[in-house]
Symmetry: C2
Subunit: 458 residues, 2 copies
Amino acid sequence: MFQKQILLPQDQIPRQWYNILADIKINPPLGPDGNPVKPEDLAPVFPMNLIEQEVSTERWIDIPEPVLDVLAMWRPSPLIRANAFEKALDTPARIYFKYEGVSPPGSHKPNTAVAQAYYNKVFGIENMTTETGAGQWGSALSFACSQFGLNCKVFMVRVSFDQKPYRKAMMEAWGGTCIASPSQETKAGRDALQRDPETPGSLGIAISEAIEAAVADTSGKTRYSLGSVLNHVLLHQTIIGLEARKQFGMIDAYPDIIIGCAGGGSNFAGLAFPFVYDKLSGRQVEIYPVEPKACPSMTRGPFVYDHGDTSGYTPLLPMHSLGHAFVPAPIHAGGLRYHGMAPTVSQLAEEGIIEPKSVGQLESYKAGVLWARTEGIIPAPETTNALAQVVKEAQRAKDEGREKIILVNFSGHGLLDLGAYAKYLAGELTDFALSDEEIERSTAITADYPRPERLKNV
Amino acid sequence: MFQKQILLPQDQIPRQWYNILADIKINPPLGPDGNPVKPEDLAPVFPMNLIEQEVSTERWIDIPEPVLDVLAMWRPSPLIRANAFEKALDTPARIYFKYEGVSPPGSHKPNTAVAQAYYNKVFGIENMTTETGAGQWGSALSFACSQFGLNCKVFMVRVSFDQKPYRKAMMEAWGGTCIASPSQETKAGRDALQRDPETPGSLGIAISEAIEAAVADTSGKTRYSLGSVLNHVLLHQTIIGLEARKQFGMIDAYPDIIIGCAGGGSNFAGLAFPFVYDKLSGRQVEIYPVEPKACPSMTRGPFVYDHGDTSGYTPLLPMHSLGHAFVPAPIHAGGLRYHGMAPTVSQLAEEGIIEPKSVGQLESYKAGVLWARTEGIIPAPETTNALAQVVKEAQRAKDEGREKIILVNFSGHGLLDLGAYAKYLAGELTDFALSDEEIERSTAITADYPRPERLKNV
């Protein structure tokens, strides 16, 4: 029988996360006064133990035992050889995928949701708030909160709330509360509804509502949670790449190419950062974050200081950004519709340590359907972006006549996104292109902000 | 770290299925003339290699290598300790679940779909037809056919077709064709539409359409496939229990109680039959198939000869049945809404080797939600029936003060059934009870059929 899966025994699960801030420097976040944000400035929003993790430069950070106990429900995730996909592509490349769809909510998001819920719990927090667009993150945090007995309130962008009632049911099955944003519960929500009672909502408004709801609880028992972009979020995801390295060790191999889709950056970073560590130590490896052409923050957006949210409530972060008011086209990969990119990922791209790529929606779904018909698993729309790049790299390996090893992060399954597949198969999806003028217009918003320093780590 | 999962290394996957017909006798299926059906009578419907398997009495049957290669995408499935569920129930019992939701379609159904597609392929078949109710089986066969390059046509009961468009998208993602039944493609369908143009359809009509579509292809390149009830279908599912036995061997343990939900019987049998084998050899083990109170074929239906389909096209099978015209209440566990029970499972129940139980819809969802909030995975509606019985056994273990080991077959996840959870959480679901008069009325249909012989295997 063909060895399809490489399973890491559960007792060999990584016990520490890898913190890339031990090995690279990034520009600091800036507050409203233009000065670097101090940890205590963030205290009303996040618990101090996570803030300390956000600014830590320790290379290895212990994963708490109670977090491991929950991750053990589905981790280590399998590393699987995509031999049927290889055959369909007629490539000499060996393609492996790290399958994150095995988690209860079906994506990589719980890797950090569980950790964040744990740290909030031990800090004495009782309620968590967050926002969600397509629903992956809100589902993951609801699941994580149910594990630690925390209440979870999710502000879900109204258009998704109405289109995807099953996501709400999922959050409620885990005991979470899911309300359409804008809501009457916050000033930010009420203001938005006053401006336009029929507004479909936006991630920017939902973030504002979730932060406001956390800060407004004067008992101090409520905090906010973010599902990507921040250092500690990406840190928690590195268990993916650390497991993958061990799994390649089991078959005495090492990947030539690492690929992950990138919205805020957490899925990509989770797989890639441990390999970046190797690369910074001299290892040869090509590392590609893949973004949609409809939201090309790294491939077409400048490296600037910008806000993480639309309303400009967050500190200024040093990142590749299309401008915080940018509204991406309605592609179905909702998790990749974000104007910016995690500061660490942006810095690595800026220095050429990783090489961003972009793909179109139609080529992504084409790769996704080929995947389903060969490897069986129906990929999440976000994942199909990474798969489209895998197709290109497999073709390049064929052109070069080389048996390269390609490793891709399979961020999740698409069982809650089948509506998008129905549209694709019915020929109802389109590609979205951005003109230079559109990019210029949307990025102009950061023109008067401070510029990040040109750091050189390598 | 707590050892949550017991993972069987992939190279230790079982290489043979267990055939219970080596160890028990059942009454033969009867044709329209009242005589036992001969293999060649079934040849227009099934390929001969599967018919031979249907009547085989070999105890161990080799799993073909190409079938293993496909199963290896997700098998061996994990055996997982439900320690959080145990804790919530405050029980001394140790609860383990065999998690079948890891397959691409999310249930145990592909275990036989893959095998059936393979045997059809090697027999020279090019097209397969089947019916589906809620969509699990049609999805599984579409997936399996994509693996062997077969065309797959699924007749889906219209009411489900309209309510669950995502199931159609799923089948199409795998290249299958899904059409609403009754359709204009068959005489059975056209007749049904003529009788009632607004009919919601039924599994009985859909089976008739699928069989007719297979038999009507005069090229001989099309065959029909059934997802439960038949001997060869249950045979293919025994890999579940065979893996579980090996996994318990890894922790030097053996279950006291085996539980699985039962509609047609394939999920239950897949886990239970290898343990029945042990029980027939003298091992002490309690084995409980669990059915919904709304469709209690074993707990309230008589052991009779009856047709497998509503239209009476199939041979008469010796089974517990509520009568082939029985229309179960619209419970959400669609896979358990079947009037009969597999002949082998029925025979074991008749002899007391296994002990059927029945549970209500509300207690099932209550157990399902508790499961989601403790073990994370949101169970399929069918699975919640088994979990409701686990709750009872956990309580009994507590009452008796005994650390029993309970093993449950977790047939699938509920990510495509979240609508049912939304209704349950909103208080919109109800229980369904059947009066003795209703049972008497529905079972009267078999009054004039031959009676099965009272076989005694033990």
